[in-house]
């Protein structure tokens, strides 16, 4: 059975059973440490990601310029 952590000693065994019977395993907060494998990005995917990143950076400069011209 899952252990009862010192910080959660107020959780009764009936509550523990309720959790295990009604939640899906991946829903347990303690199991969120289970890592999902990293996705290998292909060339076209990297290209699109970088293009949009450059787009955002450029547009932020444009917005700052727009604010500056409006305030002056």
């Amino acid at each position: 059975m899952p252990s009862r952590d010192k910080g959660h000693s107020s959780i009764s065994s009936s509550d523990q059973e309720l959790v295990l019977s009604s939640l899906e395993p991946e829903q347990l907060a303690g199991l969120k440490k289970h890592h999902i494998p990293r996705r290998r990005l292909g060339g076209p995917e990297k290209l699109v990601l970088w293009s949009l990143r450059i787009y955002v950076l450029f547009m932020m400069v444009v917005v700052i310029y727009q604010v500056w011209t409006s305030l002056h």
């Binding site: 059975m1 899952p2 959660h8 309720l18 959790v19 939640l23 899906e24 303690g30 949009l52 444009v62």
Partner: protein, 464 residues
């Protein structure tokens, strides 16, 4: 049903792992799920409605939450400046875009039980994850500032001093999360968020010409005055009023926190559709409410926040104007809660700290601290004298649109990731719509950029 890689964790794994800790967060969520299972097991129409009632929440909250202070002020500025002909169908279209996008986040959350920030970090690595977090952090913080601007402006209509308005918004935020129970928080906020529809009676008080409204929806008139930099800003602000990065992060995390599973996806869709319909109704009502300012040749340029309410007072009376101002206050207050929580969820997911509204204060110090710190800092900034309120508000929505394409790309890739989603990957039509949204938003941003760099380009193109 093909379940994806996360289902590798089995109940047997749990019983074998001595270090798996059952938390209060799990217990609260389990109690919610027991009620869902009981409602699902029963037959009859009432049980079906009860099941729907138990499962709605994140979709309605995200949509009504996005009808926030800057959004309502953008819609008000739209109605006052351009009337209804072009913008009513345009706003309905933007909500259709939001619906497609938000359904993906609900599906991702239900299928993976992971928040959006967590999934981006896990699947794409910290390099892309941090870019995404920086976009979200900046966008959320600026938007939070504008929520407090809205609260300040709305309460200003009733003579409440700015400092008292900000303090009341922060107290509201504390009260909203004080129960440390997702279910209570969600129901309380839903009850308050529905007040967003107060713009409907305000619109009715202006006695709209329904024939014109119907014609606007069917005919979709061209932009009055053609395309210019000012029109583009309003266009982008209206798009940013319906699709923004925080919505993606919030709905997915709230779906996970609520405990939705693959079985609940159908009702999660209904939740999102109902939210979009309610929010679109409030948005259209706001445009209708301020359209008389356009018809009476009044402009929004000199009005700040709830000063729209003051401008409307001669047309709809003190009561109608007060309702309008209250609507702005509600929009700001509800969104200040949802956006702060969106930031706190993302923060918890990225730094691997507990992140749930079911957490008692002792277990969720980092989560609640992030939430309150963001809100308090944003609130303090609003008290700086001389802030150009309407300009800041419109600009924040513009920034939200500009940051949206990369956020949508991550969402698009995750929703089509068979290793994560199994057979719940997006269908072709949804991919086509999502791609169109990315292209549309990028083009709108590029047009805005061109208009800033070459302000006279539109006049030149019009041959003026």
């Amino acid at each position: 049903m093909d379940a994806g890689p996360l289902s590798r964790v089995t109940p047997q794994d749990i019983t074998q792992q001595e270090d798996v800790v059952i938390t209060h967060e799990d217990v609260d969520r389990a109690h919610d799920r027991v009620r869902v299972s009981a409602a699902r097991a029963r037959r009859g129409v009432f049980s079906k409605f009860r099941l729907l009632w138990l499962l709605v929440g994140p979709g309605i909250l995200v949509m009504l939450g996005e009808n926030d202070g800057p959004s309502m002020i953008s819609y008000a500025a739209t109605g006052a400046r351009f009337g209804i002909g072009f913008f009513i169908p345009f706003v309905v279209l933007t909500f259709c875009m939001a619906l497609v996008v938000q359904e993906m986040t609900m599906r991702l959350g239900s299928a993976t039980h992971r928040g959006h920030a967590e999934l981006i970090f896990e699947r794409f690595g910290p390099f892309w994850g941090w870019f995404s977090m920086i976009d979200l952090g900046i966008g959320n913080f600026l938007t939070l500032i504008t929520e407090f601007i809205a609260v300040r402006a709305g309460l200003g209509f009733f003579g409440v001093p700015p400092w008292a308005a900000i303090v009341s918004a922060l107290v509201f935020l504390c009260l909203a999360v004080i129960t440390h129970r997702y279910w209570t928080w969600e129901r309380t906020l839903l009850a308050i968020a529905v007040f967003n529809l107060v713009f409907v009676p305000v619109a009715l008080l202006t006695h709209p010409n329904w024939h014109s409204v119907g014609r606007a929806l069917i005919m979709w008139k061209p932009l009055p005055g053609g395309l210019s930099q000012d029109t583009l800003i309003i266009l982008l602000a209206d798009i940013g009023a319906t699709v923004t990065p925080w919505m993606l992060f919030f709905q997915q995390s709230a779906t996970v926190d609520k405990g939705l599973t693959r079985k609940d996806i159908h009702l999660g869709r209904i939740d999102t559709v109902v939210g979009a319909a309610l929010a679109a109704t409030a948005a259209v009502a706001t445009i209708l409410a301020t359209a008389p300012l356009f018809a009476h040749h009044m402009t929004a340029e000199n009005f700040q926040g709830a000063e729209f309410a003051q401008a409307l007072q001669p047309l709809i009376g003190r009561f109608g104007a007060a309702l309008f101002a209250l609507g702005i206050v509600e929009a700001g207050m509800v969104a200040s809660v949802t956006i702060s929580i969106s930031s706190a969820y993302a923060f918890g997911e990225v730094v691997h700290r507990p992140h749930s509204l079911n957490l008692p204060m002792a277990e969720g110090r980092a989560f609640y601290s992030a939430l309150f710190l963001c809100a308090a800092t944003a609130g303090a900034i609003v008290l700086i004298p001389g802030l150009p309120l309407v300009y800041v508000v419109l600009l924040v929505n513009v920034i939200a649109v500009l940051a949206m394409p990369p956020a949508l790309l991550f969402l698009f890739m995750l929703a089509n990731d068979r290793e994560v989603m199994g057979d719940l990957v997006s269908p072709m039509w949804a991919n086509a719509v999502a791609t169109s949204v990315v292209v549309f938003l990028t083009l709108a941003g590029v047009l805005f950029g061109i208009s800033v760099v070459a302000p006279n380009i539109f006049a030149f193109l019009h041959g003026k």
